[in-house]
């Protein structure tokens, strides 16, 4: 194998890689994949009601992975929880709720809000958007 032949082979591999990149990133994905929503705007309405720091309890209408590795690593509720944690840092969100005075309610389906209130026995402090609310204990 001469170095000229190696050069041609590597160049050909590069062309294949570039065509794949160009097709996937510049043609196929922009047409068929969706643009992810920025995470922060969902939580902007609740920010004025939150303390600057500390621990908030967390409740949701979606299941959340709680620790032990298993098949629920990709659970939808886990993503919702993690997104809320990212948006609201440096507040710490605690799940399962361990008695923090204030609790964040984060809903995938806003119509389940009253059901969630009934199940948890918490009281509404602020409910500035359908998906997110600040609650407290009775």
């Amino acid at each position: 194998m001469t170095r000229e032949r190696i050069t041609v082979i590597i160049a050909a591999l590069a062309v294949v890689g570039m065509l794949r990149s160009a097709w996937a990133h510049l043609v196929a994905e922009p047409r068929h994949d969706f643009i992810r929503k920025p995470i922060d705007p969902r939580y902007d309405p609740i920010r004025p009601y939150l303390p600057a720091s500390g621990v908030l309890g967390y409740v949701s209408d979606e299941r959340i992975a709680t620790g032990a590795p298993g098949s629920d690593l990709d659970a939808l509720g886990s993503r919702l929880f993690d997104e809320a944690q990212y948006a609201l840092a440096p507040l710490l969100l605690q799940y399962p709720d361990r008695g923090a005075p204030l609790v964040l309610a984060n809903l995938r389906e806003p119509s389940r809000f009253s059901e969630l209130l009934q199940a948890t026995g918490l009281i509404v402090v602020a409910h500035p958007s359908p998906e997110v609310a600040l609650l407290r204990r009775r």
Partner: protein, 440 residues
């Protein structure tokens, strides 16, 4: 404050490179390599110094002043060269390689922009781990909150924080988050695309440098990983910088110790970038000892690792939460996994799937396997090549013994491990291929 921070990055990067490479600048390739190394090491040192200052309770501004002074003194003290300039090897590249490289850069840059548009908060692990950590660092005054046990294990409050530290500092200095993480990601991407090709060009000529650049920029996953704003590309930068400096040192008479200390420093920054970085640093040290049989040279490399490793140990002993892989493992699960042949077989199949994963790697991994099996046909005699094999063996063992579901872990981590090691693999493989042309 912004100017002081920029000066601290530039001075520390330039000072470290000047102290490590005690030869006059030989040519444009050499100058380019030094600039790329200085940029990567400068950002790394800036972030590592920030972490040390926060753990020690010192102020960020004081830290930048000390770092700038340290870098300037290092640069001044190393101005007088100790060796003759070594010109870069000559093997001119055909023009079409330059054209292909230009096209590859344009496509990768466009993919970077497009991916950032579609993922405004970066890849999954960016907002879940790295950018979230940066937000905590920028917004919380105490590290107890940043690494609180209240955080979900998915936030990985045990990971080292070189990239979050750089992003957090830049956010505080800029007074906004917009585009900061993307800019730092792009800077590391540029370094990943510069260091290995320039080292190859320095050692083997422009042809091999450009082939190395093509082998990095045209991997479809490369631009995606750069735009993901995670720590895999920065880790690839530090590991490949260490391997490149080791390769250059091995090509010089007497294995220059300063260059090996600098290589170790780069590997240590890798350890402060991701947990895997410590493994790669250890494998590079083992590869260096194995292939050179020079304990003093290896000791110089290990001495360079010490600052990054010491920072990692200080963090792990103070604020880090337990690692999830260790936390959920028991002696029984480890033994059960090691002696389960089905698990080994399942892992082999799942890893083979990644080799032929055209969407992420096009034909590159298949080509690497074929090149090794057909042309190279022997284990590499270089420290970088040996370190790669050792790293892969260790990672396979980790996959087997770890407690998480194997299919899930391979699916979510194998590509990032490949990207962490790919530039170093290119650095190790192309000279081996070049040697086959000498044999035929």
């Amino acid at each position: 404050m912004i100017l002081l921070a920029l000066f601290a990055i530039a001075a520390s990067g330039a000072g470290l490179v000047a102290a490590g490479i005690r030869e006059p600048v030989a040519d444009r390739i050499d100058r380019g390599l030094r600039i790329a190394l200085a940029a990567a090491l400068g950002i790394g040192a800036w972030s590592a110094a920030y972490a040390a200052a926060r753990i020690a309770g010192a102020s960020a501004a004081a830290k930048d002043g000390v770092l700038a002074l340290f870098g300037a003194l290092l640069w001044l003290s190393a101005r007088r060269p100790r060796a003759e300039a070594t010109p870069s090897a000559s093997d001119p590249a055909p023009r079409y390689l330059w054209a292909l490289f230009g096209a590859g850069c344009v496509i990768a840059a466009a993919a970077f922009v497009e991916h950032n548009r579609r993922f405004p908060d970066g890849g999954w692990d960016a907002w879940l781990i790295w950018n979230m950590r940066a937000r905590f660092l920028a917004r919380a005054p105490d590290l107890g909150t940043v690494f609180s046990p209240v955080l979900s294990y998915r936030a990985h409050a045990d990971y080292p924080w070189l990239v979050p530290g750089a992003v957090a500092q830049a956010v505080v200095l800029a007074g906004r988050e917009s585009l900061v993480s993307q800019t730092i990601a792009a800077a590391f991407g540029a370094c990943a695309l510069a260091i290995v090709p320039l080292a190859l060009a320095r050692l083997h000529g422009a042809r091999w440098g450009l082939l190395g650049a093509l082998a990095i920029v045209s991997v479809p996953a490369f631009a995606v990983f750069v735009s993901n704003q995670q720590s895999d590309v920065p880790l690839a930068v530090f590991v490949s910088a260490a391997a490149a400096l080791v390769a250059i040192a091995c090509a010089r008479p007497g294995l220059p110790r300063g260059m090996l200390v600098l290589a170790g420093f780069a590997a240590g920054l890798g350890a402060w970038t991701k947990n895997e970085g410590l493994l790669y640093a250890a494998c590079l040290a083992a590869g260096l000892l194995w292939r050179t049989k020079d304990a003093r040279a290896t000791a110089a490399f290990v001495a360079g690792i010490v600052p990054g490793a010491a920072l990692l140990v200080a963090f792990k002993l103070t604020y880090a939460q337990p690692n999830d892989l260790a936390h959920f493992s028991t002696a029984a699960t480890i033994a059960g996994h090691v002696f389960d042949p089905l698990r080994w077989a399942e892992l082999a199949v799942r890893l083979l799937r990644r080799v032929v994963f055209f969407q992420a790697f096009a034909l590159w991994l298949i080509a690497a396997v074929v090149a090794f099996a057909v042309w190279i046909r022997r284990f590499p005699g270089t420290p970088a090549g040996s370190a790669l094999w050792l790293s892969m063996a260790a990672l396979i063992l980790v996959y087997v013994v770890q407690p998480l579901p194997l299919d899930w872990l391979v699916r979510t981590s194998a590509d990032r491990l490949i990207m962490q090691l790919w530039p170093t693999a290119v650095l190790a493989a192309l000279p081996a291929l070049a040697r086959t042309t000498a044999r035929t």
